[in-house]
Symmetry: C2
Subunit: 265 residues, 2 copies
Amino acid sequence: MGRTLTYPKRTSNTVNRYKNRATYDLGAIHSIINTTQVLHVSFSPGPSEPFPAILPMIGQMGSFDYPSAGLDEPLDCYLHGYVSSRIMNLARDSEEGLPVCVAASKVDGLILSLTPNSHSYNYRSTILQGHAKLVTDEAEKLYAMELVTNSVLSDRWAHTRVPPDRAEMSSTVILKVQIVSGSGKVRDGGVSDEKKDTGNEEVTNSVWTGVVPVWETFGEPVPSAENKVAEVPSYIKSFVAAKNEENSTYAAKAIGIKLPQEEQH
Amino acid sequence: MGRTLTYPKRTSNTVNRYKNRATYDLGAIHSIINTTQVLHVSFSPGPSEPFPAILPMIGQMGSFDYPSAGLDEPLDCYLHGYVSSRIMNLARDSEEGLPVCVAASKVDGLILSLTPNSHSYNYRSTILQGHAKLVTDEAEKLYAMELVTNSVLSDRWAHTRVPPDRAEMSSTVILKVQIVSGSGKVRDGGVSDEKKDTGNEEVTNSVWTGVVPVWETFGEPVPSAENKVAEVPSYIKSFVAAKNEENSTYAAKAIGIKLPQEEQH
């Protein structure tokens, strides 16, 4: 009975190649953004600069006005990162906000087929376009700082020394991107080859085809020399275990296989 | 006695924040590009479009004229991917080449410190700026196709059905970016906190600090239903093993720790 919100198709975000892999669903797009550790944010540095710029930044989709909003509802993109003074000044000086493009991509597997042209990745990728402004409201800034910190490691904010003091608040810059359009692409499945090769025994007898699953692994937490807390807290252990399970399971399910663990049960 | 080539510092590529993490060395920058599975390529879609565009693409640094050139020598960036007709047409129509920015970023660890403001990632990131043109020379195109295929999995090209036929050659588009400038940033090490927190026992006794190493894992190769080669070939097994070793070792060494395996010996 639910409705599925989608981003409107415009020239700038419409996928023309492999349309069947395209998605405009807010939920799918926001979920790729929120599980990607580094976003790539592009902007034009100005008329005198010929090249666009890209900054790697940490960010999350969220809604300050409706914090309980789901991933499939309209959200803003909050960015925090190595904000050069250039992007800050451009965003500060722009009345409508600085036009930016935010991209997130994840590789889930190497698709090894009979011929180089049919090689591919299993992947999830998305772009959002919108206007970036500095967040000036203190309460909204705090909301975004907590959101971004907890995206690095779930529940980390409440387990650190908070709230930030005056100096920390003023040295932190949060950009809020109001989204105008977005699109995503998801490729999953296995090898796909053309008849001219699948029908050629010399080829099929000599070329191994299949998928190498790929995922991001989180290792055992390593305490710092100064750390005084005896045990790794359970919220950190759970995060590491949950992420490893989630990431490796996704890569396996993208190929349509069951994990060895599942088969054993 | 060696020389170290560096990209010249210009306004567009000079790192202003955390200068001590900056690098302009060709070797360091090219190596981040060449070990990153998906590059993010930004360009301006034209004067009528307010937003820059970003495409996820597969690419490699290489030199067609001097194929034996090392990573620390001047190289071009060859890109192959889901090339929308937009970027192809823009590059084709541009005499000087389309101005693009190519970015690559890798997360090597979560730096969990006492307060959110001192949280960070261990990471490697780089951007290159240059002019992109379509490769039209057949021999250069083949060189780049082999380079890019082998970046997905070492030595894969020679183990597939090659050379590409006429249809495959004409449907494949390779962009060559002649680099104008570049810079990189590398953060490694452990937790770094301020005295106001390290000197506060209430804080240090309650907040766990340390690093969660992060790396990309390649799983067991899964044969396709159509695969007729009985065993996973050794060049694939070696690639998977070498990558896992390289990636997990880098994440551990970035923190300055020895791996458990090393300690046991």
